[in-house]
């Protein structure tokens, strides 16, 4: 259980995913969740492995217990504050490839979204 206590934020996120899945199952008169598609930005503090593990633990004996979490990482992208070029950040914040300015507005990478579910 050590992972659970150190990764409690993924557990809270997994609970929110399960809540949403259960609501959707009810709304669509389904009985089982097969797949839950998620977008997790590279800046998000959610670790996909810990999210998947947390979800497995808390979804036991629910309509989502066999559901697969299909997680897509969303790249961290920046719009340069000087020349407005949009570029992807790999590993760590670097200078703009166009004009060498540092940083700018983050336009993607903070996502923590459910985008789609398959139910039956």
């Amino acid at each position: 259980m050590a992972i659970l206590s150190f990764k409690m934020h993924e557990l809270a996120m997994a609970q929110a995913i399960l809540d949403e899945a259960q609501q959707q199952v009810e709304a669509h008169r389904a009985h089982k969740v097969l797949v839950i598609r998620l977008q997790v930005g590279e800046l998000s503090t959610a670790m996909p492995e810990a999210l998947t593990f947390s979800f497995e633990v808390i979804s036991k004996d629910t309509c989502a217990q066999d559901a697969k979490l299909d997680i897509t990482r969303v790249p961290w992208r920046i719009r340069c504050s000087s020349c407005h070029k949009e570029y992807r950040v790999h590993d760590r914040l670097a200078l703009c490839p166009e004009c060498n300015s540092a940083g700018g507005e983050t336009i993607s990478g903070k996502e923590l979204m459910i985008t789609e579910m398959e139910v039956e």
């Binding site: 949403e20 669509h28 998000s44 503090t45 979204m113």
Partner: protein, 221 residues
């Protein structure tokens, strides 16, 4: 099999509670800061200094978040400040729901400023809103100047960065200029104050910032 388009923010349930908290604070014009930083960065020392400097002018309340123990709440209570300790029992951050019961212990109408000291951690406190007016981050120079690159979200979400323990700069390999440059690359609007809770260097600027923002909220403007 049915495919359902969902588009739901996973943190929305927390965000909803945080918005309700914000309404509670706004109703009584209470300014709330969410103080975040590593264990040992000096969050509680900063609180002690801030309380001593401002308690004549402002009515302050404190919520202390820790995994275990009421050591911090005891420290702050000694200054005659109403303090509520929340023990998260392993959870690495406070969320909107966790602080709600603690609010009942205060007479919020009689406060000007509520400071919530989050669990010492540079990771997930950045992601969970409490309903605060501002996130204030404390980083100490002993932690190194690579922290903006390693924990970008924390720096992006914070309105203020306090760089603590600048009295130790002669003894550590850390550049405040590098911290400033990299923090601003992540967040152009972030306000940065180099401080020392030991020598009080830079703390006047911080308390002026705080007084200004509390005043603006109390004045309704």
């Amino acid at each position: 099999m049915t495919r359902i388009k969902v588009i739901a923010d996973i943190l929305e349930s927390n965000a909803r509670i945080a918005r309700q908290n914000a309404e509670i604070f706004n109703e009584v014009s209470l300014y709330v800061i969410n103080l975040m930083g590593s264990p040992g960065a000096g969050k509680t020392s900063l609180l002690e200094w801030t309380i001593k400097a401002l308690s004549e002018h402002l009515r302050i309340g404190v919520i202390e978040g820790d995994i275990q123990s009421s050591i911090d709440a005891e420290r702050i209570s000694r200054l005659g400040i109403k303090t509520v300790q929340i023990n998260t029992g392993g959870a690495c951050h406070l969320d909107g729901n966790m602080i709600r019961p603690a609010l009942d212990d205060f007479n919020l109408k009689e406060l000007d400023l509520l400071i919530v000291e989050n669990v010492g951690n540079l990771v997930c406190p950045a992601e969970f809103e409490l309903g605060e007016d501002a996130k204030v981050m404390l980083l100490s120079v002993t932690e190194g100047d690579d922290k903006p690159q390693k924990y970008p979200l924390m720096f992006q979400q914070s309105s203020v960065l306090l760089v603590n323990k600048v009295d130790l700069l002669p003894y550590v390999d850390c550049s405040v200029d590098v911290i400033k440059e990299q923090s601003r690359a992540l967040n152009t609007a972030i306000e940065i104050f180099p401080i020392s809770c030991k020598t009080s260097e830079g703390l006047e600027a911080w308390s002026a910032w705080l007084k200004k923002h509390v005043g603006e909220k109390r004045g309704g403007g």
